[in-house]
């Protein structure tokens, strides 16, 4: 009968055979008799359902039993419907069609669920990878526990807020509190390039205004138009007494004393990073002088915008009250206050706060330097043309800096060579008098006379040689000029001198181990120790 209606029909003589057939064929509907040998319908139905799993596989019992208990049992063991023997063919085919529709829907739903699961798994996996990268990129930073206390609590797996800190080579402490538009992964992506730029520039000891400019142009290029990053970029000088700040789009910062009273409120000066192009961007910064031990508080808007039970925001005044509630308050204590205020509501935004203590930098112990054991010898002889067209001192310093162990001394070596070379050139070769520098505006006049004399110079030479002695770890410089010799200012005083010249000679003797002139005064020998 069913084959007439174009159904494929498989026949099993008992429950076991039915289960076997299910495994071999894609069966859509099961018509099940209760009475069967080997395994009856009541035993078979639960096994069929177990086999079908999540997809709806309808079971229609065909039964001669008529008692209510049997009907009930049919349904309890997993039957979806039943029909009495002898059955009405119209009713049977109507029931089959109805259940087939339901099975079709169930199959579709199951397929969608499977796809959903697949995408979910894939997203989870990608998030794990990205989270791993973020963790390594952002939390690998050094801790500065005595200087800075901060707390970040993201509203989701990824933080749209970031807090970066680092020290420059000369001991300045830098930090950056940033708040990208929104929260979650979309907000966090900008943190990677921003952190790289920040660390690289701090490593070079660059100014806050330069860091802000670079971050802005990078984020302006990278981020889509509706995304930006509110930020406060702070530098505290190595003495802990000077603060430079670039602040764009971040809530007010506070300078507080040890007791927590607000000394100064610092308002945001600019638009957030990533909005203005390079031409429009404003790089101006603020400067503050502070007492040692002053604390700088900065927080993202998640703090002041946290909502209390009546929908009122936490607000600036509650933040100020909290800061003043005890001395040397920690960020965790502030966060606890915000949390207890907004405990009824789900966290809406990332909560971030940092408190920086303005303290002098602790001098780090220098590692022992290694010095080359090769006796380098550099010497140059310059004629008048070369004196006019070159500035040889820096070039010689750069050459010497390549000798292992010398680079750390390049500022001093520059000073020695610059003083000695300029003495030779100005006084030896050009015959200028330093007296001029003492007169009003003499400084400018001196250098214009120097330029004049230099342009007229024809026949002259200066010889510079530098000999590195590995066994004594020193460099011996000899600077000899073709002039008729000069007498270095005698009897300098180590006290501050009001004279505008002679300072160079004084510096020479302080920086070098020894300074000696030949009897005619046209050759100077300097010994500089690297130890």
């Amino acid at each position: 009968m069913l084959e007439h209606q174009h159904y494929d029909v498989l026949v099993a003589n008992n429950g076991l055979e039915a289960l076997e057939l299910l495994k071999q064929h894609e069966v859509d509907i099961v018509l099940l008799d209760v009475m069967m040998p080997v395994m009856n319908g009541f035993e078979t139905a639960p096994k069929i359902k177990e086999y079908a799993g999540d997809v709806y596989l309808p079971i229609i019992f065909i039964t001669a039993l008529e008692d209510h208990a049997s009907f009930e049992k049919c349904l309890r063991v997993g039957g979806d419907d039943f029909i009495h023997k002898p059955f009405d063919r119209v009713i049977l085919s109507a029931k089959i069609r109805a259940h087939a529709r339901t099975r079709k829907l169930s199959k579709e739903a199951n397929e969608q669920k499977r796809q959903l699961q697949y995408h979910y798994n894939q997203t989870e996996r990608e998030h794990e990878i990205v989270e791993h990268i973020f963790r390594n990129a952002l939390s690998g930073q050094q801790k500065f526990e005595s200087i800075c206390d901060f707390h970040l609590s993201p509203a989701s797996m990824f933080n749209g807020d970031m807090f970066l800190m680092a020290k420059s080579p000369i001991g300045g402490f830098y930090c950056l509190l940033g708040d990208f538009t929104g929260h979650g992964l979309a907000a966090a992506v900008g943190a990677l390039p921003a952190s790289r730029i920040f660390y690289t520039m701090v490593q070079k000891g660059m100014a806050v205004s330069d860091i802000a400019t670079e971050l802005n142009s990078s984020l302006y290029t990278l981020l889509p138009g509706h995304m930006f990053c509110a930020a406060a970029i702070i530098e505290i000088s190595s003495s802990g007494k000077n603060i430079s700040a670039w602040i764009g789009g971040i809530p007010d910062l506070y300078l507080i004393d040890g007791a927590g009273s607000v000394l100064k409120t610092i308002e945001s000066q600019h638009m957030a990073l990533g909005i203005l192009d390079e031409d429009e961007f404003e790089r101006t910064i603020l400067h503050f002088e502070v007492e040692t031990g002053t604390r700088l508080v900065m927080a993202t808007d998640g703090i002041i915008e946290s909502e209390g039970p009546d929908g009122e925001m936490f607000g600036e005044h509650r933040l100020i009250d909290t800061l003043g509630s005890k001395s040397a308050i920690s960020t965790q204590e502030v966060i606890n206050c915000v949390r207890s205020y907004s405990e009824h509501a789900e966290q809406q935004d990332d909560l971030s706060i940092a408190i920086v203590n303005c303290l002098p930098a602790i001098q780090e112990n220098k590692t022992k330097a290694h010095y080359s054991s090769i006796p380098f010898d550099v010497s140059v002889s310059l004629d008048a043309e070369q004196m006019k067209s070159t500035d040889p001192v820096l070039e010689i310093v750069n050459v010497l800096s390549n000798v292992e162990g010398v680079d750390a001394h390049r500022s001093n070596i520059f000073l020695l060579l610059s003083e000695a070379y300029n003495n030779s050139l100005d006084h030896g070769v050009l015959g200028l008098s330093s007296e001029l520098k003492n007169q009003e505006d003499g400084f400018l006049e001196y250098y214009s006379q120097r330029a004049d004399a230099l342009s007229r110079l024809t026949d002259a030479s200066i010889k510079v040689s530098a000999t590195y002695c590995p066994e004594k770890s020193c460099i011996i410089f000899e600077i000899c000029d073709s002039g008729c010799g000069f007498t270095p200012s005698s009897g300098y005083t180590p006290e501050y001198s009001s004279e505008e010249h002679g300072r160079g000679v004084q510096l020479l003797s302080e920086i070098a181990d020894s300074v000696s002139y030949n009897p005619t005064g046209n050759e100077v020998t300097l010994v500089y120790s690297l130890l």
Binding site: G205, A207, S237, S411, L444, R503, G504
Partner: protein, 101 residues
């Protein structure tokens, strides 16, 4: 080698930043930089964070600035010196005339 100058957002601080080497080659531009000091300016910062080298001519230029500005600004600060430059300033007793940070 270059020189840049920036007034702070409130106009009270003028920062002169010197990159590379601070010597007589900057004599003109350094003078022009502090010529911008006006009534609002309370403080001049000479930022040496990017300065690798200086010699006695730089010291002379700093003293000239001090002399020219006199009491028209509250303080002149030499900031972010590398250790060797700081030592040069100390040898020359500049810590008596300038704030060295």
């Amino acid at each position: 080698m270059s020189l840049s100058k920036n007034a702070s957002a409130d106009g009270k601080t003028l920062t002169i930043q010197i990159k590379g080497k601070f010597d007589f080659n900057l004599v003109q531009s350094f003078r022009q930089a502090y010529a911008e000091v006006n009534d609002q300016t309370e403080k001049v910062v000479v930022d040496l964070r990017d300065t690798d080298y200086m010699d006695s001519s730089a010291l002379g230029m700093l003293l000239n600035m001090k002399k020219t500005l006199g009491d028209s600004v509250g303080s002149i600060q030499i900031s972010n010196c590398r250790p060797q430059l700081k030592k040069i300033l100390q040898i020359s007793r500049f810590d008596k005339k300038f704030e060295i940070d």
